[in-house]
């Protein structure tokens, strides 16, 4: 671990008197070696066992009774027409634009708030770092769908708080992905070699210079591919806002069309195409970026 801020540690030990004390005997005896087999290490064994147990429970315990029902009777004819498909295209693009905009705004929040969270979590002060760590883990381990409902209820129940649904959407996206981004930043910061931190101490650099000129410039390239993947993931999560908050995004468009024209196939297929059109090039760009960074590393 790169330890940046020197904290003075002194012991009250009296300097031992010359030549009087017992010889420094056990100085070089190392502790008994731990087992190095990975499957014996408790930090691997415990979570793996828990996961296996949990999965077995799922497999063994039968599902609770009950049925999902649909008003569509089986065998009902499904129509599809290309004319109608292309007729819907401009509306779909409008919805897609709204979804993409909420994603980008949310991701701007995620990228900056994530850095703040990463720094707070690194803080030497436990009063700061522990709650931050808890918050990050809490948000990361709850579904964004539930968070979206929670945000909606929260905004409705607080009188002085009135937010446009689209604002709620990108705030939730931003906070949710900020926790992921903060972990990515943390990994990126930890990947900066120890020697770089030591050189910063040896040159007596102040904290601001150390972070802005040495650490962050070297951490960011490592983080960019991960951030790119999160951007694509956030984009795919954004339609949840249409379902929960009724934002006028791409899913809202399809739901509206279905309700008005009773033709569900074309609009939902169009959404799929729309996401492919954005996600595939984005994934390709992220891969290019990764390859480029690997090349720079040489």
């Amino acid at each position: 671990m790169a330890d940046d801020t020197p904290h003075t540690q002194q012991a009250v030990d009296e300097p031992s008197q010359e030549g009087g004390d017992a010889p420094a005997q056990p100085a070089f005896d190392l502790e008994v070696e731990q087992s190095h087999k990975w499957y014996r290490r408790p930090d691997v064994l415990v979570p793996v066992t828990l996961v296996v147990l949990g999965l077995s429970l799922l497999a063994i315990v039968p599902a609770p009774s009950g049925r999902f029902s649909s008003q569509f009777s089986p065998g009902r004819e499904v129509s599809f027409g290309w004319d109608y498909f292309f007729h819907l295209l401009p509306q779909m693009l409008r919805g897609l634009y709204t979804t993409a905009r909420a994603t980008v705004l949310g991701f701007l929040i995620a990228a900056t708030l994530g850095m703040v969270m990463a720094m707070l979590r690194r803080s030497q002060n436990r009063v700061v770092s522990l709650p931050t760590a808890f918050l990050i883990e809490f948000i990361r381990s709850t579904p964004i769908l539930v968070q979206m409902f929670f945000a909606q209820v929260l905004v409705r129940s607080v009188d002085w708080l009135s937010l446009n649904p689209i604002v709620i959407l990108f705030l939730v996206l931003g906070i949710h992905y900020a926790t992921y981004a903060s972990e990515a930043y943390r990994a990126g910061i930890n990947s900066v070699p120890k020697g770089q931190w030591e050189a910063a101490v040896a040159l007596n650099l102040d904290p601001v210079t150390k972070w802005t000129r040495i650490i962050i410039p070297q951490a960011i390239p490592n983080v960019l591919p991960t951030l790119g993947n999160y951007l694509v993931a956030a984009f795919k999560d954004a339609p949840i806002g249409d379902a929960v908050l009724s934002t006028a995004g791409v899913l809202f468009f399809a739901n509206t069309i279905r309700a008005e024209d009773f033709r569900p196939v074309e609009p939902y297929l169009l959404i799929g195409v729309g996401f492919l059109l954005v996600s595939l090039p984005a994934a390709w760009l992220v891969r290019r970026l990764e390859a480029h960074i690997a090349y720079e590393r040489g």
Partner: protein
């Protein structure tokens, strides 16, 4: 985490001279492993001290605690007469130093590492200019002028705009030396600076060290396995083993006519390579 104050050693009251580096009763352990034990050491201004000893003997730790890369467990270290890890209180006792105090005293020290630790995203000249501009408030023009002079001194003026990735190991190490010299520290620490280099590149780096030594302004503490170079450059050689100084004296004594069995066996083992 222990944050208590070391009581100043009563024996040190007379030690108010201006030794460049002064260790008093310094202890340092990593867990159960003691690496420095009750270490007392005085390095005079301009003196060149070479520390030798087997790996794991704690010799590198002497440099690392002087640079505050590791913190000492007990005792005191003074740099140019000023406490490094402590600040005097109004009552005349010592308290643990603030970050500000450490930074002030630390500005007198420079260090060169075994693995260079150059900033890979900056060119050679940017590496050299960074600390003067950011820490010492030197103007950009002046820093560049001084930086180019330093790079010329280490024979790398024509590589000023190359990044570390474009330089050989020996060139990187000479840039690292120029970078450390850029803030004109009164004490320079060299931690096995030739150990990571190909043999044919060692000579250039040693030449730069000779130049610094000849100028005689800088106190130098070197950890090295180059015994020939140690003999040539050192005013004093410290043989270090198991956290203690086994033998200390001019190279003619410690290297050529060692009094201690431990020194003899170490030098014998080194000579076999």
């Amino acid at each position: 985490m222990r944050t208590n104050v070391a009581e100043p050693d009563r024996n040190d009251v007379s030690d108010k001279g201006a030794a460049s580096v002064r260790f008093r009763a310094v202890d340092k352990a990593f867990g159960a492993l003691t690496v420095l034990e009750d270490l007392h050491l005085d390095v005079e201004p301009g003196e060149r001290v070479v520390v030798i000893g087997p790996s794991g003997s704690g010799k590198t730790t002497i440099l690392r605690v002087t640079m505050t890369l590791e913190h000492i467990d007990a005792g005191t270290i003074q740099i140019g007469g000023e406490q490094l890890y402590h600040e005097p209180t109004s009552a005349g006792t010592l308290k643990p130093a603030s970050e500000k105090h450490i930074r002030k005293v630390r500005s007198n020290i420079g260090m060169v590492f075994q693995h260079f630790n150059l900033f890979p995203h900056m060119s050679a000249i940017e590496n050299v200019m960074l600390a003067p501009i950011k820490v010492h408030g030197v103007s950009r023009d002046e820093a560049q002028h001084n930086g180019m002079e330093l790079l010329a001194k280490v024979g790398l003026a024509e590589h000023a705009n190359h990044t570390p990735g474009q330089l050989s190991g020996g060139q990187k190490q000479r840039v690292a030396i120029a970078r450390a010299l850029a803030t004109s520290p009164s004490v320079m620490l060299f931690d096995e600076v030739t150990s990571a280099l190909d043999p044919e590149l060692v000579g250039d780096v040693l030449n730069v060290l000779r130049d610094i030594a000849e100028e005689g302004r800088t106190t130098m503490m070197l950890v090295t396995h180059e015994m020939g170079f140690a003999r040539e450059i050192a005013d004093r050689v410290l043989m270090f083993d198991k956290g203690r100084v086994v033998e200390s004296g001019p190279p003619s004594q410690v290297l050529d006519n060692p009094q201690q069995e431990r020194t003899r066996s170490f030098l014998g083992a080194v000579a076999e390579h």
